[in-house]
Symmetry: C2
Subunit: 469 residues, 2 copies
């Protein structure tokens, strides 16, 4: 692997992105068009994400289940908006062995209808509520154009599905899980995110309200990185799900669903990585440290390994017969947060060199100071990565006060634009048609202070718009 093979990020961002995915050995392609192979490092990052999120879901009372991966066509058709949203992009199984199926089945693009069918069977009384379920699985959406992690025919994800006795409880759940996503992305992925409600036009097929986590990538494009939906009684009524409430009256439960995917790995890359390859925030890196022994250092290496183990700091050692220079470059491509150069010569002065991946800054420390220094560097690096991403993100948020200004920013800048909006879908459509920008989310903590930037009527809300992956 040659580092120089990575395209310059500022010259061709799209090519840079796929180069990083490939050179860092995150993914590979196969003869299965539109699907990707997730290689060991890519999958290990996903396992870290799963581990943290799964714990947060369980701490908030959720239980994991596993639904079938197929959906019979008649079941998908039960909820009209939903089927219209998904039917055009599903994979259909029509044959089992040598026999044609009586009814074709799609590979789940999402599992609302499967959960609803199950909820109908297991919910009888208010005592059965809430039902707080989650599922880790693979879904399929038959995309035409695909990119590693961002848009793929197969997606690894989790989907939460919950049922509640009251609308208030379901709405609180929608926001609770939305906040878990936000906290996770800010704290672990060091990604500053913009959060809010989707417009009617952009919400999930079948939802009453969709809350979205929008991250801004290095190139100013938005990545929708997790959504949480409040369904009200919409699906429950379509599926005829009822329960007896505490007063012995028949009622219909209120529902939520929420999901995030391997797309977050794409978001990580496009937020933090650079021309030398992957840069991983220490809190999500599967291996925090890469040790590169140079010369005869076996004894010190053994001591260092013991110390790292006893502090539960995960590490890898590059013991290959490549040159140190090559190993340094490879360690950079693969994004280990801290590189420890354990050199025979340095060790004569009882010193080792630590290199943090984000800034490539080198520090010499005494051998017995490695551990506290590694811990300090990881903490600083995590914070610095978030801060840098936030400063960059904030510098790419623009305000448009007139429609000409909006078009001008859309043409000459990349990033999010904040506008005043009347709430009319026609204005939203016009923006998209004129600029290709779509609504990201409503800005709920700011009061509209001007007229709608498109039609000049009274504004109902402020809104972020932007281009998206």
């Amino acid at each position: 692997m040659e580092v120089k093979d990575i395209t310059n990020r500022d010259q061709d961002f799209a090519k840079w992105y796929t180069d990083v995915c490939k050179k860092a050995d995150l993914v590979d392609y196969s003869s299965v068009k539109g699907s990707m192979i997730i290689r060991p490092l890519g999958y290990a990052i996903w396992e870290e994400m799963v581990h943290v999120l799964d714990q947060k879901f369980k701490e908030t009372g959720h239980e994991n289940v596993q639904m079938p991966m197929f959906i019979p066509e008649s079941l998908l058709n039960v909820e009209k908006e939903h089927v219209e949203g998904f039917a055009p992009e599903v994979a259909w199984v029509t044959m089992g062995g040598k026999e044609k199926l009586e009814e074709r089945m799609c590979v789940r693009p999402t599992s609302e209808v499967l959960f609803c069918e199950h909820f109908k069977k297991i919910i009888r009384s208010y005592r059965d509520l809430p039902k707080l379920y989650n599922q880790w699985c693979t879904i399929v959406r038959w995309e035409k154009t695909t990119r590693p992690f961002l848009r793929s025919r197969e997606i690894l994800w989790q989907e939460g599905h919950t049922m509640h006795a009251t609308a208030e409880e379901a709405k609180a759940e929608t926001l609770r899980m939305f906040n878990i996503y936000r906290e996770f992305q800010e704290e672990y992925l060091a990604m500053p995110v913009i959060t809010g409600k989707k417009t009617e036009k952009e919400k999930f097929a079948g939802a009453e309200e969709t809350y979205t986590i929008e991250a801004m990538m290095y190139d100013g494009y938005a990545l929708q990185n997790g959504t949480s939906h409040y369904f009200g009684q919409h699906f429950a009524k379509a599926f005829d799900i009822e329960f007896v409430d505490a007063n012995n009256k028949i009622d219909t439960p209120y529902q939520t669903s929420w999901g995030c995917t391997t797309r977050m790995i794409g978001g990580l890359i496009m937020t933090h990585s650079d021309n030398n390859g992957l840069v991983l925030p220490p809190k999500i890196a599967p291996w925090k440290v890469i040790i590169i022994p140079i010369g005869e250092v076996a004894e010190r290496l053994a001591t260092l390994e013991e110390n790292l183990k006893s502090h539960h700091i995960t590490y890898k050692i590059d013991n290959s017969n490549k040159t140190p220079g090559f190993k340094f470059a490879e360690a950079e491509v693969k994004g280990y947060p801290i590189r420890i150069e354990l050199g025979e010569r340095d060790l004569r002065n009882d010193e080792v060199t630590l290199v943090r991946r984000d800034t490539l800054e080198k520090t010499k420390v005494k051998f017995n100071e490695i551990l506290p220094k590694v811990e300090e560097l990881m903490e600083t690096m995590q914070k610095d990565m978030y801060d840098r991403a936030k400063i960059r993100r904030d510098s790419m948020i623009y305000e448009a006060h007139t429609y000409d200004e909006l078009k001008d920013i859309a043409k000459n800048k990349s990033g999010f634009i904040k506008i005043n909006w009347c709430g009319d879908m026609a204005c939203e459509d016009k923006i998209k048609e004129d600029t290709t920008l779509k609504s990201r989310c409503l800005i709920e903590d700011e009061v509209p202070d001007e007229v709608c930037v498109v039609c000049g009527k009274k504004a109902q809300t402020k809104l972020y718009i932007g281009r998206q992956y």
Copy 2:
């Protein structure tokens, strides 16, 4: 839920089995024929299995990856034996959205061909070997008749796929992983297993050697509960995979694969469970303890919870408004290893009642002796469950010295039969035709001491035969 709804195990074993699966809330059915819903308790057991096995795989140097779930027909067709073994039972995707696919794709029934295609791309030199990969995923086999966990159209499993520079190394890997399965099932699932090589007739489609883990269920039927395959260079040659060895010569690598599935949950049930429901070995139970508070015991409950938490003993509390008797029955159905009855009246004497699930034996202990007693009971229970299963299993292994004796045992007893065998597939076929019994595995640590029980020729080996799930 009424315990009396569980069919008696000795009257109708098949119905008892599905009753336990349903009443313990392990699974449910849906409109997706042949697939099952794995409910929270069933999935939590699978998560425990995954957790322990995944750790063992990683400790032995394996890395997790994720391959596509689809296999284009032409790729499945590369290896002839393999496609003949699997093509009759795959699900075919023929449409993507509204368009007919140019080439249909099956949902993976197993992923040898996908791994081979990838190995061909990433293996160049002996330095790239071994490649030790594993994947946790769902596979699909279009079964006609299905039973929860035992035979399902969708199966959750892991599949290991490894490539090695030498045959010796690959054979050692085949046995290493085989031994991990055996140890796991004996130590965690408390299941005594019979292990050995499959006959030519029964081995995996495309393998040189298949090693199998065979557990005997309560009814004497065998459950194949994990297999490890040595492929030699079979697939590697079909896929044209080559590497440059240390002497700069071109060679073909040697391959293994190994897998185990949610079927192990079925094995657990059919080995240990009883007429009151599920019985889980403590080491695999997601929750070791169920606490049933009776009366006003909030303060003691809080102390008990703290103690269990500090000892990392997982537990649930039944705080519902059902009667204690109902709660006891439900705790039994769901298989919690230890039940703690925390009663107001008993606590006046500073006592609580512990009940172990396998024997339903009750013990009164002082409140501050709960922890050591729970730990002691779990250890004893784990050991006792294994011992009981082994005694029962051993009592159902028969030896047949003549073919009449074989037929007589096959007709009147259920269990495994040990025979001397000439090694000829014709004799194996005859046994199957006359008795429905199939080969379980070769007995490699016993020397044949009689002639072949079928044809009377010189025996090559001893062999276990039996009926199977």
